[in-house]
C-alpha cells in the first residue's frame, strides 16, 4: 500500500498556521485539534498529526474518534497494520462506529483479507443510516477481486434496495450479470433504468445488444428501430455527431442482424431528407 501523496496541497500549510493561531486562543478545543490532525494528515505530516491527536486525547476527545483518526494517519502513511490496530481499538470502544468499520474493511482489503473486508463492509453498510453508492461499489469491487461475482451482484442489489435504481449501481450490476451469462436479468435491470430515463438512446442501444445475445433478434430489431426513431427525433432539434454516429451504428447492426431488406430501407429513408439545409 503506497502512502497517499500529499503533493498538490500548497494551501495546507497556510491553513495549518491559521488553525495553530486559533489553537493559541482556544488551546483546549479538542475538536479543533482533531481537525488540525486531519489537516496535517492531508499534508503528509504524519508525526505532527499524531502529536495533535495526543493533545486532543489529553483534552477529552472521544477515544474512538482519536483511534480512528490515528488509523487514518497510519493508512495515509502506508502502514495498514498499524491502521488496523487502531481501527480495532476504535471499534472495541464503539462497535456502532460504521465509518471506522468501513475503513477497517479497506485496511483488511489492503492486507489481503478479503473475507474480513467484506464482513466489515457489509456490517458497516447495514449500520449506515444513509449509505452512498460508493459504499456498495467499493464492496462490489472487493468481491469481484476475490472472484465472488454472484455475491458482488448481491452487494449491488442491496444498494438498489436502499437507494433505488441508480445508474451507478445498476450499470455495474449489468456488467456482472453478463459475466455470469444471465442476460435476461441484465435486460430486466436495463429495463428498470429505462423506466426512469426513457430518453437514453445509449441504453436502448445496449438493450438491443442484450436482446441479440439472448437470441431475441426480432425484439433487438425493434429496440434498434425505436432507438433510431428517438435519435432522429432528437436530431431534428439537436443534431450532433454522437447521435449521428450512434444512429449509423444501429443501422449497421440492423443490417448485420439479417433484417429484411425492405425494413432496412424503411429505416434508412428516415434519415434527414435532401431538403434538409446543409448547416
Amino acid at each position: 500500500m503506497t502512502p497517499t501523496v500529499a503533493a498538490g496541497h500548497p494551501e495546507l500549510p497556510v491553513v495549518d498556521r491559521a488553525v495553530a493561531d486559533l489553537l493559541i486562543e482556544n488551546p483546549d478545543d479538542a475538536d479543533l485539534l482533531l481537525r488540525q490532525a486531519q489537516l496535517r494528515t492531508k499534508a503528509g505530516n504524519w508525526d505532527a498529526a499524531l502529536e495533535s491527536l495526543d493533545h486532543a486525547r489529553e483534552r477529552g476527545a472521544e477515544p474512538s474518534a482519536v483511534s480512528s483518526a490515528r488509523a487514518g494517519v497510519f493508512l495515509a502513511a502506508g502502514l495498514p497494520y498499524l491502521a488496523k490496530y487502531e481501527y480495532d481499538r476504535a471499534l472495541a470502544e464503539r462497535p456502532d462506529a460504521f465509518e471506522a468499520r468501513f475503513e477497517r474493511g479497506r485496511v483488511n482489503l489492503a492486507l489481503g483479507d478479503s473475507e474480513a473486508a467484506d464482513r466489515d463492509f457489509g456490517e458497516a453498510i447495514a449500520r449506515m443510516p444513509e449509505p452512498r453508492p460508493e459504499h456498495f461499489v467499493i464492496r462490489k469491487n472487493a468481491l469481484v477481486a476475490a472472484g465472488r461475482i454472484e455475491e458482488a451482484v448481491g452487494a449491488l442489489d442491496e444498494g438498489v434496495a436502499r437507494l433505488g435504481h441508480l445508474a451507478s449501481l445498476e450499470l455495474p450490476a449489468i456488467e456482472l450479470e453478463i459475466r455470469l451469462g444471465r442476460f435476461d436479468r441484465a435486460l430486466a435491470r436495463l429495463d428498470g433504468l429505462l423506466e426512469t430515463t426513457p430518453t437514453s438512446v445509449a441504453w436502448i442501444a445496449r438493450r438491443a445488444e442484450l436482446l441479440e445475445r439472448t437470441g431475441r433478434s426480432e425484439d433487438a430489431r425493434a429496440a434498434r428501430l425505436g432507438a433510431i426513431r428517438q435519435l432522429e427525433a432528437r436530431q431534428t432539434r439537436n443534431p450532433n455527431r454522437a447521435g449521428r454516429e450512434l444512429a449509423e451504428r444501429l443501422r449497421r447492426e440492423l443490417a448485420m442482424s439479417g433484417s429484411k431488406e425492405g425494413d432496412t430501407r424503411e429505416t434508412t429513408s428516415r434519415t434527414p431528407s435532401a431538403r434538409t439545409p446543409h448547416l
Binding site: R35, R132, E134, A167, R237, R241, A242
Partner: protein
C-alpha cells in the same frame, strides 16, 4: 440533508408548542433548498426546539396553505409540495399553533422551478470562495445588490469554500447565513463541495456541517438522473441542465480518487439523458488556473478533473464550466480538447474561438447546435474572488482574461443566448462574454436587412453529381459599410443564408480567419478553392462602390432539389452586430429541376 437532530430535538414531543410565549427566535434562515417544478424545501433554525409550519399563498398577507412537521426540533426542514411551476408564493415560517416566526411579508417568497426544457429568461448569481465574513464579502454582496436592483435572482450558485476557515457550522453561520440573510429567504441556493468544506465534512460519508445544512437532490427530484448522493447531483432550470460535481476526491474517503466510480458512471448517464439546450457544470477545483497557491499544473485534484472529467463533459457538449479555488477571476476562450499541462496548450488547436466573446468587443462565441453537441466548445470561468483576492500570476494560456478583483458573476440566459458578467466589488462589469447557440441561419429570413436595388442569383443543380452544383449571387446598389461588416479576417462572424417561400434552402457560417483578406483599397475578399465551408469559393465585398459577390460550388453547398418557390431571398449576415444585406427575388426567370435564375430589378 442530514441535520443533526439529536442534541436538541425532542422527537417524542409532538404537541403544539407555545413558541411565541417562550420567545422563540429564528437564528438561521429561512432559506430555500431543492426546488423542483412542484415543490421546495424551506429550512430554518430556531434557538429553542419547536414543531414546524410553512404557511404560503400566492398573495402576500393571505397565506392560506401550509405544510407542517410535528417533529420538535431546532433544525426545521419542511418540504412544501403541490406548487404550480414558476408561480410566485409568499410564505412564512413558524409553528403549528399558528405562530409566525419569520416571513409573511413581501421579501419572503419562493417559486417552484419552471417547466424543464422550455426556455425562460433567467438570472443567477455565482460566487466562489466567498467564505470570509468580512468587509470584502460584504462589498461583493452589496455590489451585486446594487447591480441587480430590486429584482431577485432565480437562484444562486456557490462554487465551494463558502465558509472559511474550516467550513464549520459557525463558519457557515457567519459567512453565509448572517451575511446573506436577505437573499437566502427568497433565492434558492445550490452548492458544490470545496476543499475548505472538506476540513469539517466528509464527502465520502456525506457527514459534517456542509451536508447537515444543505438539502440537495439525490433521486433526480429537480431534474436529471438520480445520483444517490448530495456531493454530486444535477438539476434542470427551464432549458438549462446544471451538473454539480465533487472535485475533492471524488468521494472516496481515505482512498485515492476513483474516476471510474459512481460519480463518473452517474455523470455519463446524466449527460446521456439530458436534452436541455444548455449544459452548465460547476465544481470547485479549476482545470485551468495559474495562481501562487493554486496552479492547475501542480495540484492533483485540478489535474484529475481536467484529465478524467473534462473529456467526458466535452464529449456530451458542456457549454460552461464554473469553478473557484483560486482567489482571482480567470476566464477562458471558447475551448475544446485541452487536457494536458499549460505548456501543451495551443491557441490555434484548443481555442475554437480565440476572441473575447464580448458582444461589444469582437463578438459572441457561437455554437451551431442548440442542445448538447460534442466538442463545440465551452468557456471556463474561475470565479474565486468573492471574498478575497490573492496575488496570482494569472498567465494560464487557456485564459483570455485574468483579474485580481473582488467580485462575483451575474449570468443571464434567454433562450439561445447566455450572457456572463464579472461584477467587481464596485458594481462595475469588468468582463462580459456571450455564448449564442443555434444555427447561423434561422428557419426564416431575418428582417430589416439592407436590400440591394440590383442583384442576381443563379443556382445550378446537376442531375447526379453534387460536385458540379453552382451558386452565384450578386448584390449591389445598396449601402454596405466596412464598420458594419467588421473584421472577418480576425473575429467577426458572418453567415450566408438562402431561403425560398418554404424556408431555409441552404446556408451556414463563413469561417473567420485566414480565408479572408483585404485588398489595397480596404475591400474584403474570401477565397477557399477547397469549398470546405458551405461550398463557398469566393466572396467579394466592396465598400467604395458597394457591391457583394458570392460564388459557391460543390457538394458542400448542400443545394437541394430544384425548383424553388419564390420569393427567394439571399442574405449575408454579420452575426455579431446583426447587420445584414439581402436580395429578395419575387419572381424567377428560370426555375426548373436544373436551374434557378432571378434578377433585380
Amino acid at each position: 440533508m442530514r441535520p443533526h437532530l439529536a442534541p436538541l430535538a425532542l422527537a417524542l414531543l409532538t404537541f403544539s408548542f407555545p413558541s411565541e410565549a417562550l420567545g422563540v427566535t429564528v437564528t438561521r434562515g429561512p432559506y430555500l433548498q431543492k426546488p423542483t417544478t412542484g415543490s421546495i424545501v424551506v429550512r430554518w433554525r430556531t434557538d429553542m426546539p419547536t414543531d414546524s409550519r410553512v404557511s404560503y399563498g400566492t398573495t402576500s398577507g393571505s397565506l392560506t396553505s401550509f405544510a407542517d412537521d410535528a417533529t420538535v426540533t431546532t433544525e426545521h426542514v419542511v418540504p412544501v409540495s403541490d406548487l404550480s411551476a414558476d408561480v410566485k408564493y409568499f410564505y412564512a415560517v413558524g409553528t403549528t399553533d399558528g405562530t409566525v416566526l419569520a416571513g409573511d411579508d413581501a421579501d419572503h417568497f419562493f417559486r417552484a422551478h419552471p417547466t424543464p426544457g422550455v426556455p425562460r429568461p433567467m438570472r443567477f448569481w455565482v460566487t466562489g470562495d466567498g467564505g470570509f465574513a468580512d468587509a470584502n464579502g460584504m462589498a461583493v454582496r452589496d455590489a451585486y445588490e446594487a447591480y441587480n436592483g430590486t429584482s431577485s435572482a432565480d437562484f444562486w450558485l456557490l462554487l465551494g469554500d463558502n465558509a472559511y476557515l474550516l467550513g464549520t457550522d459557525a463558519n457557515y453561520q457567519a459567512a453565509l447565513f448572517d451575511m446573506h440573510h436577505d437573499m437566502l429567504r427568497n433565492t434558492p441556493v445550490w452548492s458544490t463541495y470545496g476543499n475548505h468544506e472538506d476540513f469539517s465534512a466528509n464527502d465520502f460519508t456525506e457527514t459534517g456541517p456542509y451536508f447537515d445544512l444543505f438539502t440537495f437532490p439525490t433521486a433526480g427530484e429537480s431534474g436529471g438522473v438520480a445520483s444517490g448522493a448530495e456531493a454530486y447531483y444535477s438539476f434542470d432550470y427551464a432549458n438549462v441542465h446544471f451538473i454539480v460535481l465533487d472535485s475533492e476526491g471524488p468521494a472516496t474517503g481515505g482512498g485515492q480518487p476513483d474516476y471510474t466510480g459512481p460519480m463518473m458512471t452517474w455523470l455519463i448517464a446524466d449527460l446521456e439523458a439530458t436534452t436541455a439546450d444548455w449544459v452548465i457544470a460547476f465544481w470547485h477545483r479549476p482545470p485551468y488556473s495559474r495562481g501562487r497557491l493554486h496552479d492547475s499544473d501542480f495540484e492533483g485534484n485540478e489535474i484529475n478533473m481536467r484529465e478524467n472529467v473534462l473529456p467526458t463533459l466535452e464529449d456530451y457538449g458542456v457549454d460552461l464550466v464554473l469553478t473557484g479555488h483560486s482567489h482571482s477571476y480567470e476566464r477562458s476562450y471558447l475551448l475544446d480538447g485541452h487536457y494536458g499541462f499549460s505548456s501543451s496548450f495551443d491557441l490555434a488547436t484548443h481555442a475554437l474561438d480565440s476572441g473575447d466573446g464580448n458582444p461589444t468587443g469582437d463578438g459572441a462565441y457561437r455554437k451551431s447546435t442548440v442542445g448538447p453537441a460534442p466538442h463545440e466548445g465551452e468557456v471556463h470561468v474561475v470565479c474565486g474572488s468573492s471574498s478575497q483576492v490573492r496575488i496570482e500570476t494569472l498567465d494560464h494560456p487557456a485564459h483570455r482574461i485574468g483579474l485580481l478583483e473582488l467580485g462575483s458573476m451575474v449570468i443571464d440566459i434567454d433562450d439561445d443566448t447566455l450572457d456572463a458578467k464579472f461584477l467587481n466589488d464596485e458594481a462595475q462589469v469588468t468582463d462580459h462574454f456571450r455564448i449564442v447557440k443555434g444555427p447561423p441561419c434561422p428557419p426564416a429570413p431575418r428582417t430589416g436587412c439592407e436590400a440591394g436595388a440590383s442583384g442576381k442569383l443563379t443556382l445550378k443543380k446537376h442531375p447526379f453529381d453534387d460536385l458540379r452544383d453552382r451558386l452565384n449571387w450578386a448584390w449591389q446598389d445598396g449601402a454596405i459599410a466596412e464598420s458594419e461588416v467588421g473584421e472577418p479576417a480576425n473575429q467577426t462572424d458572418l453567415a450566408l443564408c438562402l431561403y425560398d417561400q418554404a424556408g431555409l434552402v441552404l446556408g451556414g457560417a463563413l469561417p473567420k480567419g485566414e480565408r479572408w483578406s483585404t485588398d489595397g483599397r480596404g475591400n474584403l475578399r474570401y477565397k477557399d478553392l477547397s469549398e470546405e465551408a458551405i461550398g463557398m469559393q469566393k466572396i467579394k465585398i466592396n465598400f467604395s462602390q458597394p457591391f457583394l459577390k458570392v460564388k459557391g460550388a460543390g457538394a458542400e453547398l448542400g443545394l437541394p432539389g430544384l425548383p424553388l418557390t419564390p420569393p427567394v431571398i439571399a442574405q449575408l449576415v454579420q452575426l455579431d452586430g446583426g447587420a445584414c444585406w439581402e436580395s429578395s427575388f419575387p419572381v424567377a426567370e428560370a426555375n426548373h429541376a436544373r436551374k434557378f435564375q432571378a434578377e433585380l430589378p
